[in-house]
């Protein structure tokens, strides 16, 4: 079990280093963890309030929650897509499990998310809708999203290393997802006949669950969350398989 401890330490040190370098790259340092989602929210709020006429704190929080959840998801997976190629020289020298590298990127991005999310949550409780028992469901939804992120990242980190062209395709997929996942609008705006498709998207389900809990003070839709859990577990299983299969083969298949 000493390997497990060692891998844990590697993830810790690399995550620490990732956060340090991010903070040192810019003058505002860690403030960007919060500023970035705030800026995107401001842009989206400006556009949406003019289009739909919905204004006020609720509209801001609706977009903010969607934006934070999206950035945690998208950021982690895009970082993971490159985490093996970026550190290829390490893989040529030491026999480390490849999955450690996407996990480090997820770790760094999760810390960023946690900072911003806690602040937004605090703001919701103080000036927004206030506290409620529904908040007890929050850890469940957060855990589910983390599992989904890890599962997808495990698959994508290997696939993109083997087929680098897919990275461009991945970016396009994310751009599409950004517009259809209900980040800056809610399910009420979706035509009834499209709702099943809308809810087939795990990101949509997660965003709606967060909004239900934080803004509407009600329990999330467990039927939809169950579906999301199934897809998350499927990705995790596929990811574990892909990682195990390619771990000692990767260097024979590519020379990045």
């Amino acid at each position: 079990m000493s390997d497990f401890q060692r891998y844990k330490d590697i993830i810790f040190y690399r995550t620490l280093s990732g956060l340090k370098s991010e903070a040192r790259r810019n003058h505002l340092g860690y403030a960007w963890f919060v500023l970035e989602p705030l800026l995107s929210t401001a842009v989206l709020y400006f556009a949406m309030s003019h289009l739909t006429g919905q204004r006020g704190a609720v509209a801001v929080f609706t977009i903010l929650v969607g934006m934070l959840v999206w950035q945690w998801f998208e950021g982690s997976i895009m970082l993971s897509a490159e985490s093996l190629t970026k550190k290829f020289h390490i893989h040529q020298q030491v026999p480390l499990p490849k999955y450690l590298f996407p996990l480090v990127d997820i770790g760094t991005n999760t810390v960023r998310f946690a900072f911003a999310f806690l602040l937004v949550l605090a703001a919701c409780l103080l000036v927004g809708p206030g506290p409620s028992v529904a908040l007890l469901w929050l850890p469940l939804v957060l855990a589910l999203q983390l599992v989904l992120i890890i599962g997808l990242s495990l698959v994508i980190s290997i696939v993109v290393t083997l087929l680098p062209d897919l990275r461009v395709l991945l970016q396009s997929c994310f751009r599409l997802l950004f517009f259809v996942s209900g980040i800056f609008f809610t399910a009420e705006r979706v035509p009834a006949h499209l709702l099943p498709y809308f809810h087939a998207n795990p990101i949509t389900v997660l965003i709606e669950s967060y909004r239900a809990i934080i803004l509407d003070h009600r329990a999330p839709n467990f039927g939809l969350l169950g579906q999301t859990l199934l897809s998350a577990v499927a990705f995790l299983a596929l990811g574990a398989f892909v990682q195990a299969y390619y771990d000692k083969r990767l260097l024979k298949l590519t020379n990045v």
Binding site: D3, Q5, K87, Q92, V94, P95, K248
Partner: protein, 233 residues
């Protein structure tokens, strides 16, 4: 003779680089083929050969970085620590020399507590002084190499893999680092040294293997093998 530490049994590896899906790329995709070799505990095995003889592939197989495509490689026990002497593995510029010593050691198979207990030795051998606690991206390339070498020296693997005995740093440190590597050859550590320089292998190894195009051409005492290698190259 006791059981070998590592045993190659008809081992082969091929690379499937590039965009072609078929395993046949170029005249021979096999980087290693039909390798039969045993490495005994405590021996200093020298491998000579020219570029492209399959030595990097052999090192990666030994270090457990890649798996064989045919045949087997058997280690005497699971978790046998085989380590390539590599400088500055996984250095992160914004972490201090001390933090990088721990991180790099973790990469090379050591625990955090092991590396923490060796920090003083690393600092001393690297002659970095107070700079040891400053971020590595403030170091000169010489300081970087000194730190990397000093860390690698503290990893104490069961089997040390060395790809050419290269000294690092300025003249004084160069001599010191070469002496430290030669010291490893006097200890009980099992060492596999790969070099194109038959002279070095003849000097410090106890057994030698000559490899060419992924196959073993000769195996025996360093003096015999190196004489053959020198005469036919």
């Amino acid at each position: 003779m006791s059981d070998p530490l590592i045993r190659f049994n008809n081992t082969g590896v091929y690379y499937r680089m590039g965009r072609k899906r078929s395993p046949v790329v170029g005249p021979s995709p096999w980087a290693l083929r039909g390798l039969n070799l045993q490495i005994q505990r405590g021996e200093k095995l020298g491998i000579v050969g020219r570029n492209g003889c399959g030595k990097s592939t052999l090192l990666r197989l030994l270090a457990g970085i890649i798996s064989p495509d045919e045949g087997t490689i058997t280690f005497s026990r699971p978790g046998l620590h085989v380590q390539l002497l590599a400088l500055g593995v996984g250095f992160e510029g914004n972490l201090s020399g001390a933090e990088n010593a721990i991180l790099s050691g973790l990469f090379m198979g050591k625990t955090r507590s092991h590396m923490e207990s060796r920090l003083r030795d690393v600092q001393e051998f690297s002659e970095l002084g107070d700079a040891f606690h400053r971020p590595v991206n403030t170091y000169s390339s010489g300081m970087n190499a000194r730190l990397g070498f000093s860390i690698a020296l503290q990893t104490d693997p069961d089997v040390f893999l060395i790809d050419e005995i290269l000294g690092v740093g300025d003249h004084a440190f160069l001599l010191k680092s070469q002496a430290a590597i030669r010291e490893k050859f006097k200890s009980d550590t099992t060492v596999v040294l790969i070099s194109h320089d038959a002279q070095v292998i003849g000097d410090i190894c106890t057994r030698a293997v000559w490899m060419n195009r992924g196959e073993i051409l000769a195996e025996g005492t360093p003096s015999d093998v190196c004489r053959d290698y020198e005469s036919k190259r």
